[in-house]
Amino acid sequence: MDYGRSERPAGAAPLPTAIKILIAGGFGVGKTTMVGAVSETRPLRTEEVLTETGIGIDDLSGVEAKSTTTVAMDFGRITLSDDLVLYLFGTPGQDRFWFVWDELALGALGAVVLADTRRLADCFPSIDYFEGRGTPFVVAVNCFEGARQFRLDEVQAALDLDPGVPVVLCDARQRESAKEVLITLLEHAMKLRETRRRAAGD
């Protein structure tokens, strides 16, 4: 069939569905490493420019005498099938950019909170954020060399997590390990949906 020189037939090839998962955690914990380990290309970087008149200006206190500020996000893509594309977004490390987090979290299937046992407190803001928002999340302890090995239940207690929140060990550099973390998250998110649906009585 001839569709003409340069016009594409409308609806002949429906666009895939895009979905996203967030990778959060403190600075230097391995978010971009994990994005890169499981994505089909090296991580890309995108930037949001926040201006003085922008939303969330209150969050910019501490950025003295600067009319605009740039928030960078690293992300990767995994084409799962012809009609499903998964994007992984590393959340901006600076906790004051909640405005960007809100945009990222909207519609996300869930979040991975990466933790480093040497600096466990660094992931508190991420956990607080996802708990407050009701976003399903798992905690993945990135196994850095030289870090003391904690038992997972110790980490769970130290983070004061709800008993249902999975805590797993991972190596953010390893594709298989990163995949397992994502699958754990998705299974947890499905379970949570079912629980919430039952609680809502439908």
Partner: protein, 129 residues
């Protein structure tokens, strides 16, 4: 399938040169798109293989049409063109208003997450990687 890499328009800019044109100059000072919302993961595809001498279109518009011969998310377009997301949204609005791009917003919205079968499809897709 088009080749990877930077669009030709940007090749003469060296890494240390910084932006040659300030982001809002690219959009003529506009901060909001004329149409559409453009989530970071909205998927965009060009409806034509090229755009000719359409009036009012800048080199960045043309670059987006070139890039979107293959399906790209808004975030990917911004990353590949090295432009802030807000700027890309404005440019995409111009293109959508001229029907030069087709946009698919993500199914997940404030109203709710994707269906159960999407979760299952993602799990199966990841296992198959």
């Amino acid at each position: 399938m088009t080749g990877r890499g930077e669009p030709a328009e940007h090749e003469w800019v060296d890494d240390h040169a910084g932006p040659v044109v300030r982001p809002y100059a690219v959009t003529g000072g506009r901060a909001r798109p004329v149409t559409g919302t453009f989530d970071l993961i909205s998927l965009v595809t060009a409806t034509r293989t090229e755009v000719g001498s359409e009036s009012g279109l800048g080199p960045e518009h043309v670059a987006i049409v070139g890039l979107c011969q293959r399906i790209q998310s808004v975030a990917e377009i911004a990353a590949h063109l090295d432009l802030p997301v807000g700027t890309v949204r404005v440019l995409l609005g111009d293109l959508a208003a001229r029907s030069l791009v087709q946009v698919r917003e993500p199914r997940a919205t404030a109203a709710g997450l994707p269906d159960e079968h999407v979760f299952e499809a993602v799990i199966n897709g990841l296992r198959a990687l």
